[in-house]
Amino acid sequence: MNTLGYFVEQYVMLAAALFTLGCIGFLVRRNVLVQLMSIELMLNAVNLMLVAFNRQHMADLNGQVFAFFIIAVAAAEVAVGLAIVLAFYRLKSSVQSDEADQLRH
């Protein structure tokens, strides 16, 4: 019985687990760097899901091309996000997200 890895449901479950871990990390952690990494985890889980569904429906390659664009957007997002982290660190000397309270006063 070679079943593991040949059913789309297994990939969907794995992607859901990865997405959940990323979301919990984003919500629980206070470090902005780790929060950005959690966002990357969630994007990767979505990519895995898109590619798995594209493997199921092999009429075209739209799912893989969609994942390709998501990778490009994620790279741009990380570049800008880390620049914002650096600016935030210059302002506050900290990378904890609850220090970002400039708008409160």
């Binding site: 092999m58 390659l61 390709f68 997002e77």
Partner: protein, 213 residues
């Protein structure tokens, strides 16, 4: 167990362990290594799903660029990149409560799916061209050419924006510490040489404009 089964199980476990390491490590450099492990595991799963081109792109872009960028920033920040000392107890309760709530929702969804009577979908045999560079390339440069070009524009704008945001103003740090953070960020002259110079009056500016023209 065939080779494919073992490959899938190992890659899945690697990805999950890396994800756990990312969100649970105290030091951000370990989180970055966990992200790297997850990315390698997902690239292996892409190979399993006939997405060879995406597996290569995943390794080049994520493992080669994104994780390295994270490591550079952690290195720049030094020991300050770690977790600070304690926070407000109420805020901590809110964070952990939100995380537990989302985890509970995910578990409930998994339970509902496991109880439903869905038919499992086994993959059909894929044609050799599925996921090849030729297939993705012909799609990217024919019907998807406009999104592709827009993605290049997005990357250029992102790089310029990242430089503009991260560079900052060099004179700001030399000012007194007593100024508020907002004042340090937004007020004061743009160039250090203008610090002692009074602003020109309206008549002076008009005369200069007339002289220059």
């Amino acid at each position: 167990m065939t080779v494919g089964n073992v490959f899938f199980v190992v890659a899945s476990v690697v990805a999950l362990v890396g994800a756990l390491m990312t969100i649970a490590s105290r030091s951000p450099i370990r989180s970055a290594v966990g992200l790297l492990i997850t990315i390698v595991g997902i690239a292996a799963l892409f190979l399993m799903l006939n997405a060879q081109f995406l597996a290569a792109i995943q390794l080049i872009v994520y493992a080669g660029a994104v994780v390295v960028l994270f490591v550079f920033v952690i290195m720049l920040l030094g020991p300050d990149a770690g977790d600070g000392e304690g926070t407000i107890a109420r805020a901590r309760l809110a964070r952990y409560g939100a995380g537990a709530f989302f985890g509970f929702i995910a578990l409930a969804a998994a339970h509902l799916v496991s109880r439903s009577e869905l038919v499992a979908h086994r993959f059909k045999v894929a044609p050799a061209a599925h996921g090849s560079v030729e297939g993705i390339g012909s799609l990217l440069f024919n019907s998807m050419v406009i999104p592709f070009e827009l993605a290049t524009a997005l990357l250029i704008v992102a790089v310029v924006g990242a430089i503009a945001v991260a560079r900052g103003k060099p004179h700001v740090r030399r000012e007194s510490k007593s100024a508020s953070p907002t004042a340090r960020m937004f007020h004061g002259p743009l160039m250090a040489r203008d610090a002692q110079r009074p602003l020109p009056t309206k008549a002076e500016r008009a005369a200069k404009a007339a002289g220059g023209a």
